[in-house]
């Protein structure tokens, strides 16, 4: 089966792999989607992930469908949400119309995750087979994409809208006379930034690339849409906590002030080292087991090297410049972010692009060192990064597939091992949730509970709540209890956080007369304390 689009990518069209030469592309992609859904089903857990952001999205969605506005109804004063863009909570709000145990919203997000693979195919179907199918296989089996497709976080919808916008742009440019596709493209292109704030990188890349390519209408209309949506959102909430967090030294210690230019430079270097050294590899090739450190270092070096070569190459491959600009801007924002928040999570939304760059880089390297491949003119650097390197008939596909198979094995292992961990809560979370169950049954509906994870506690207990202030001044903690009208306090024993021991325990120990244990659990010790009147 020939594909007329293949000729538009690399200058020399590579031969098809024998393995799939008789199987239609549609059947292959169906196979991949079925495989992905099987993996999702294996890893699916009805439990809510414990990171807290998901609970906040669900609460905001619930507020929207109940007609209470874009408000944190889980907090005592139900303030307007200033931070999270509205699109993903609205999506979850819609999904909650059909279910009250959060399984249906999870199904919706998982399907969006699968659709992202289909979009990857549609977007990169013009790539040579030895790049396209390894790419799709890697995206399908990615441990992190599977994980985030099943935990109600905004990364996967963001990825979906990004890919959809890029695909529609391709369609719009293909059919410039179609106003419908044009306006649909513009509408979808502003969705990423309204799904996650880091979508600003997407918008900036969109504008730059379209201006560079002389598609001025797309750039202009996107800018108008972007300004309108941000202006509408900010008209309700003037302040932008993300911007403040970007320039704060430490958001957990607001009194520490703001970073100086020199500190920002240090922060960027720290983040570069962290992402380059560990996190990019962790997102693309996650480890489920403890491996010798040298394995991680070697894989980090190889993957990062390939990504950098692939990224340079993207600027020379027709139609792929956008990805190069986008990754550059995205990395720039990540590097300015506070180092304590650096994590693989922020890379989930760009995993397909990173895999693509990795494969471009690998393809370039193998072809570069293959004597049978004709070399383009130019120096070493330009030859390596050239978009016109022709792959060999045998070595390049085999090497790319071998690398993809190794990466896929790591991802499958990660997904399967971690799925078991997500199905049952750990003892500290089991007790925390049991406290929420107790509070839901034994306290009045207007009770206010202070706990380490008030968003998750609210969903389970249906009682408003707040987190204790992170201060060692016990009087400030007590004053917050008074000010917010907290009626109960949860003294947890989380293994992953020591803040209760650091901040809440001293307040209780200093004022035992203000608290009374009303519910207690062992292994680990966890308490619900009633706040007594003065």
């Amino acid at each position: 089966m020939t594909n007329k689009f293949k000729a538009n990518t690399l200058d020399v069209v590579p031969p098809r792999l024998h393995l799939f030469s008789t199987i239609g592309e549609s059947v292959r992609i169906r196979f991949l989607i079925v495989l992905q859904l099987l993996l999702f089903a294996w890893q699916f857990s009805p439990q809510l992930c414990t990171n807290g952001d998901n609970a906040k999205y669900l609460t905001l969605g619930k507020a929207l469908i109940e007609g209470r506005g874009y408000r944190n109804i889980g907090e005592p004063e139900a303030p307007v949400e200033p931070q999270y863009p509205i699109l993903f909570p609205a999506l979850l709000g819609f999904a909650q119309l059909f279910s009250d145990n959060y399984i249906f919203p999870k199904i919706i997000i998982a399907i969006i995750g699968s659709l992202a693979v289909v979009l990857c195919y549609l977007l990169y179907r013009t790539q040579p087979n030895h790049l396209l199918w390894p790419l799709l296989t890697l995206v399908t089996t990615s441990g992190l994409i599977a994980e985030y497709s099943l935990i109600l976080m905004s990364e996967i919808p963001y990825l979906f809208f990004s890919l959809l916008a890029l695909y529609l742009r391709e369609k719009s440019l293909d059919k410039p006379s179609s106003g419908l596709i044009f306006w649909l493209t513009v509408t979808v292109s502003v969705m990423p930034v309204n799904c996650r704030s880091i979508g600003l990188a997407f918008s900036a890349a969109w504008i730059i690339d379209n201006i560079w390519s002389k598609h001025y209408r797309l750039a202009l209309m996107h800018a108008v849409g972007l300004i309108c949506t941000i202006a509408i959102f900010r008209s309700f909430v003037p302040s932008d906590p993300y911007f403040v967090q970007l320039i704060q030294r430490n958001s957990y210690d607001p009194d520490a002030g703001f970073v100086t230019p020199a500190e920002m430079g240090t922060r960027i270097l720290q983040n570069l080292s962290r992402y380059g050294g560990i996190l990019v590899r962790g997102a693309l090739i996650p480890f489920a087991h403890n491996l010798p450190p040298f394995v991680g270092r070697i894989l980090s070096t190889l993957s990062l090297g390939c990504i950098i070569i692939g990224w340079l190459r993207a600027f020379f491959i027709p139609g792929k410049r956008f990805v190069g600009i986008y990754l550059l801007l995205y990395a720039g924002i990540l590097c300015m972010w506070q180092p304590q928040w650096a994590g693989e999570r922020f890379l989930v939304s760009i995993i397909p692009f990173l895999y693509l760059m990795l494969l471009y880089g690998l393809d370039a390297l193998v072809s570069f060192f293959d004597p049978s491949v004709p070399r383009p003119p130019g120096d070493f650097f330009s030859r390596l990064s050239s978009g016109t390197i022709a792959p060999s008939r045998y070595h390049t596909p085999l090497t790319v597939w071998a690398a993809a198979a190794v990466i896929m094995a790591f991802n499958l292992d990660y997904g399967l091992v971690n799925s078991g961990k997500r199905k049952e809560p750990t003892p500290d979370w089991r007790n925390f949730y049991s406290c929420a169950d107790w509070v839901r049954i034994h306290t009045p509906p207007n009770a206010v509970v202070m706990s380490r994870k008030p968003e998750l506690f609210y969903l389970r207990s249906k009682r408003k709540g707040l987190v204790y202030p992170f201060t060692h001044d016990v009087e400030k903690v007590i004053a917050t209890i008074e000010e917010k009208g907290a009626t109960h306090v949860v003294h947890d024993n989380f293994a992953w956080s020591a803040t209760t021991a650091r901040y809440l325990y001293p307040a209780i120990a200093a004022h035992p007369e203000r608290f009374k244990i009303v519910y207690a659990l062992k292994d680990p010790d966890t308490f619900v304390l009633e706040v007594l009147p003065k």
Binding site: N3, F5, E25, S26, I29, R30, I33, V34, L37, A41, F44, P46, N101, I103, F104, K106, I107, A110, I111, V118, L122, R125, D253, D255, A256, N431, Y433, S434, D437, W438, R440, I441, L459, R460, T471, H472, D473, V474, E475, A498, A501, R502, Y505, P506, I508, A509, A510, P512, E513, F515, K516, I517, V518, Y519, A520, L521, D525, F527, L532, K534
Partner: protein, 293 residues
């Protein structure tokens, strides 16, 4: 044909996703996000016993010390040092080991060197010296706390008791207790001590009133709702002694057998020491006939 996948697969993918969603819904149809709470360890658990458990306190001390290593802000460091001192002091109260009291004192003193403007730090150091029976040092610290926060009700309370029981300054104790009660009317033990002072001064009606207030506030707090962190055994002692004094007053000065009897029975219920109970019965036999029960 391959340009738009959905043309060809318009039915396949919706059906596939619907089937997958249905499978998940059926697989977890019995799952409920909301569960019954696990059985509680004890409905009437004492806060100090529970939170002050050895394991919990050790973890808390470790975490606070980690915080101290990371914290650069002087004010926060002072609070952390003080909180570590309090954790050691709680540990001392459950284990009664001298080295824990030494650690508590060291951290309290360090916190005062770091941040010298918080009354609570001096008050807690004063408690350590009271525990060590170094009354003059305790007094100095309580007074320093009161300089910084004149209405620090616990410093007023402890300084008053120190003056009354250990230093013999009855008038100073009386003034401090009256000030403490003006700040917090339901402060435990104060009325008992004021009653004793009134008895010593021969003001029997005032004594009767103070003892009555003491037992009333104790009955209010006996459900666990105390307004300040005063030792429960001390509150119990003050209430039982107040009942005994009331029984004697109703038997000798304000003849009222019914109230005398009720108060004496209340005393017998609260007094844990059998020897003291026997001594009280012997005392009361001077005034009226006491049944064996």
């Amino acid at each position: 044909m391959n340009v738009l996948l959905f043309k060809r697969d318009a039915f396949f993918y919706p059906l596939l996703f619907a089937a997958w969603g249905a499978f998940i819904l059926i697989r977890y149809h019995s799952y409920s996000y909301y569960n019954a709470p696990l059985p509680s360890v004890s409905a009437q658990m004492n806060l100090t016993d529970a939170i002050g458990k050895q394991q919990t306190i050790t973890k808390n001390i470790e975490e606070l010390q980690k915080s101290l290593g990371e914290e650069k802000d002087v004010v926060e460091r002072g609070h952390i040092e003080h909180n570590i001192g309090t954790a050691y002091y709680d540990n001392y109260k459950s284990l009664q080991r001298g080295d824990l009291l030494d650690s508590a004192q060291a951290y309290y003193e360090q916190s005062i060197r770091t941040l010298s403007t918080v009354a609570r730090f001096y008050y807690n150091l004063g408690r350590i010296f009271t525990e060590r029976r170094e009354h003059l040092k305790a007094k100095a610290n309580y007074e320093k706390a009161l300089q910084l926060e004149p209405n620090h009700v616990l410093a007023l309370h402890n300084l008053a008791l120190l003056n009354f029981y250990e230093l013999g300054n009855r008038d100073t104790a009386k003034a401090l207790l009256e000030k403490a009660l003006a700040v917090k009317g339901d402060l435990p033990i104060c009325n008992y001590v004021l009653g004793e002072i009134a008895l010593q001064q021969g003001r029997y009606e005032a004594a009767l009133e103070h003892f009555r207030r003491e037992v009333n506030s104790f009955s209010m707090f006996s459900g666990g709702r105390q307004s300040v962190p005063v030792s429960r055994s001390a509150m119990n002692f003050a209430a039982s002694k107040s009942h005994l004094e009331l029984a004697i007053l109703y038997s000798t000065r304000f003849i009222d057998a019914k109230h005398a009897q009720a108060n004496f029975h209340a005393y017998l219920r609260l007094e844990p020491d059998p020897q003291r109970r026997d001594a009280a019965i012997a005392e009361m036999k001077k005034y009226w006939v006491v049944k064996d029960q």
